[in-house]
């Protein structure tokens, strides 16, 4: 763990990327969230139309756990660039996913069915 900035030269010293306990805590959270995902998808614990949203929330939470406990994307000094890069990556991923679904959904809605196409040929 990085000490605070007052320790000049700390950055050049050996810095640990985590400890046994951070990884174990991360594993525990990840297992809990995975179990919760399976329960939500297999039972009618949640209101059925909301299950997809619930699963998405659990997945995002688990990704957060992985980022913090396994990849150590945190708020410490040397991690600022990593967080900024992650933010940029998330924007691109969101654009690709939402954009593709949006465009393809519109194309799908505007497409003629084979039956309609046959009708136009006559």
């Amino acid at each position: 763990m990085a000490e605070n900035g007052a320790v000049v030269g700390a950055a050049s010293e050996h810095t640990s990327s985590g400890s046994f306990w951070t990884y174990t805590a991360g594993l525990g959270f990840a297992l809990l969230l995975t179990a919760a995902s399976f329960v939500v998808s297999q039972t009618d614990l949640l209101w059925q139309p909301g299950v997809a949203a619930g699963l998405a929330v659990l997945a995002v939470a688990q990704m957060g756990v992985h980022l913090v406990f396994f990849l150590h994307i945190g708020t410490d000094a040397e991690g600022t660039n990593n967080v900024l890069a992650l933010g940029f990556g998330v924007i691109i991923v969101a654009l690709i996913l939402a954009g593709s679904l949006w465009i393809m959904d519109h194309l799908n809605a505007n497409m003629l069915t084979p039956a309609q196409m046959m009708e136009m040929q006559h």
């Binding site: 605070n4 900035g5 000049v8 030269g9 700390a10 950055a11 050049s12 050996h14 810095t15 640990s16 990327s17 985590g18 400890s19 046994f20 990884y23 174990t24 991360g26 594993l27 990840a30 297992l31 995975t34 995902s37 399976f38 998808s41 297999q42 299950v51 997809a52 699963l55 998405a56 659990l58 997945a59 688990q62 990704m63 992985h66 980022l67 396994f70 990849l71 000094a77 040397e78 600022t80 660039n81 990593n82 890069a85 992650l86 940029f88 990556g89 691109i92 991923v93 690709i96 996913l97 954009g99 593709s100 679904l101 393809m104």
Partner: protein, 196 residues
């Protein structure tokens, strides 16, 4: 504390290498996002063939998830061990990482073989093409990771825990954790939502 950046001089190599590798991983995640979008679009296009609901077994996916998660965990412990120069613990944890990764991969290949044997191969429908591309790309990453892991064990045994070997081990652990993140998205979107 970036205000001290000028005082303490350039960041240590370990930080810079980690940052560069992190950017590579993000670009890899963007590659996956394109295939996720493809899968989401083609999910319902079964061309009269079997759908996700008929094909996927949650039990298999659950075991795969646990294997990969524990593999990620032991990989993290291996990094903790090598930073403290506990070589025996490092080798044990890294070997476990390999075994659990191999379990994951064999389950996935088994599932693929089962699907193809049932006539649900990648050529059957748009949905299955998208499925095999997405899950197969993740599997290919795991395969490359396992080969990389063997190489790193050999290098650590030969060179010892010197700085540049430790940096490579750190990059590998980042790669392995990122694969686990992608698997979380895969499990949720393909298996948990598909099997409902």
């Amino acid at each position: 504390m970036s205000v001290y950046a000028g005082v303490v001089g350039p960041a240590p190599t370990r930080i810079i290498v980690g940052y560069g590798f992190w950017i590579f991983l993000l670009s890899d995640i963007i590659l996956f996002s394109a295939l996720f979008a493809t899968y989401a679009v083609l999910q319902g296009q079964t061309a009269g063939g079997p759908s996700a609901h008929q094909l996927f077994e949650l039990r298999n996916a659950g075991i795969e998830t646990v294997a990969l998660l524990f593999s990620s965990y032991t990989c993290g412990l291996a990094i903790v061990a090598i930073e403290r120069r506990r070589m025996r613990a490092f080798y044990v944890c890294f070997a476990l990482t390999f075994i659990l990764g191999a379990v994951f991969l064999s389950l996935e290949l088994n599932e693929f073989a089962g699907l193809i044997a049932r006539g649900a191969g990648p050529a059957r429908s748009g949905f299955l093409s998208a499925f095999f591309s997405l899950v197969g790309l993740h599997g290919a990453h795991v395969t490359i990771g396992l080969l990389w892991l063997i190489f790193l064990i050999a290098q650590t045994a030969y060179r010892g825990p010197v700085d540049y070997v430790c940096r490579r081990l750190l990059c590998f652990s980042l790669f392995w954790h990122a694969l686990d993140i992608i698997w979380v998205a895969l499990l949720t979107m393909v298996y948990l939502m598909g099997a409902r």
